[in-house]
Symmetry: C2
Subunit: 234 residues, 2 copies
Amino acid sequence: MSRGRLVQLPLAERVRVLSRTVGFEKVDPARLAALAELAEVRSYSSGELIFDEGDPAKRFRTVAGGRVKVAKSATSGRLFTAIVGAFGDTLNAVVLFDGSDHFLSARALDEALVLSVPRRDFLDFVAAHPEVAAGIITILGRIVRSGYERAMGMIEDRVEERIVKVLHMLHNKFGEELRFTAGELADLAGTTPESVLRVTGRLRDEGVIETGRGRIIILDPARINGPGQEPLLI
Amino acid sequence: MSRGRLVQLPLAERVRVLSRTVGFEKVDPARLAALAELAEVRSYSSGELIFDEGDPAKRFRTVAGGRVKVAKSATSGRLFTAIVGAFGDTLNAVVLFDGSDHFLSARALDEALVLSVPRRDFLDFVAAHPEVAAGIITILGRIVRSGYERAMGMIEDRVEERIVKVLHMLHNKFGEELRFTAGELADLAGTTPESVLRVTGRLRDEGVIETGRGRIIILDPARINGPGQEPLLI
DNA sequence: CGACTAGTTGATCGCCGTCAAGTAGGGTGG
DNA sequence: CCACCCTACTTGACGGCGATCAACTAGTCG
């Protein structure tokens, strides 16, 4: 019941993906080739599940194209989006070390490419390259920080501020044109589609953004940048 | 302007603290002695600041006694408590790797002992002992998971459920007797002291807990354990 | 062209944050 | 040893934010 469709990607291309994956930036590309040899690449269509909560984490996975939503579902059925992964973002480095199951699910937002390596090979490679471990800890630190800031935002900020922060972050990561629906933004901001639409409606009226079906264009980035705050990492 | 008071702790005792610090459990104690040689121990009185947000992270710090509250303050002055550290919990391993400043503050909840090692020596030690890096990544993974669960709880759960989860977690970590005020619990659950008191009042009337000034006794642990859920890591 | 999904807007309502006023415990100093 | 004060606890009343429900419009894909 393997998901996605296998795609043949040249070795050089696989090396390029790994060399631009967070944590691997400093590794000698020649050495990455050994790992890239063991890698496979799969293609997932929009909306397709890549892995689910509770699935065992058997492979290290990193985004090689498109966008992937990594999220946690609540008992009520609501979704909380942790990360929108793009090229070079790893989907599950966290859970590979202690062998626990996935506690988040990953789903393709577009037609997406995901490169993966067997867990054992990934761990061996990390053990042989301490700089990778250090890189992973660094990025994990940023995720922890961002997680606490979002938890705090949930109790501290009003819905409008949370949504603006999400737009700020997405603008920072994806540029002027954001291809997200109100429902997807709601999962990121911890609110409902209705509230997102009320806020984006106001921002549109004020000329800050332009909206379309599944699309938001940031017209005035300065207006969504909070005073001196760095964007959340998502 | 060094905070706390220096305490002389025998080398064997310093080794014991390190050997029970998360991430170091698997390291040969004989090798830990080298690191323990470089360690100093400081004592902080209840309420005293150990480090503040924005302070540079010059030393690796781990709790050698008492309890330490690690928190982030909001612009409004409200506090969000990330972790209540006890013996063996590290306070700042996250920020040491990329050399960034502290993004959380640490404050003694009791008379507390904190063992510390210069950042450079800590990093050298980790580089020489890959199992420490793997251990740190594992614990970071749990923190990330817990952070997402708490962020989700903030939007998904009612105040009462959040408070019960906090009690569950604290019971799991500290046992039957919890020495926390309503204000401290509020910072953990992301609510106000008034709401905490309303909930604990009800739980007291139902015989689940017993309350006193700055003290809660869990009488009926089964009643605060959610259905099949593991306690949050704090 | 039809069906599904996304967007839009209004009305309602309840949770819980806030303010307020008072009680009680416990440590400190005279 | 007692009086005082500070802190924590307690309880009530109020009000606003935003979730929820509902009804409708408008894109877009097949």
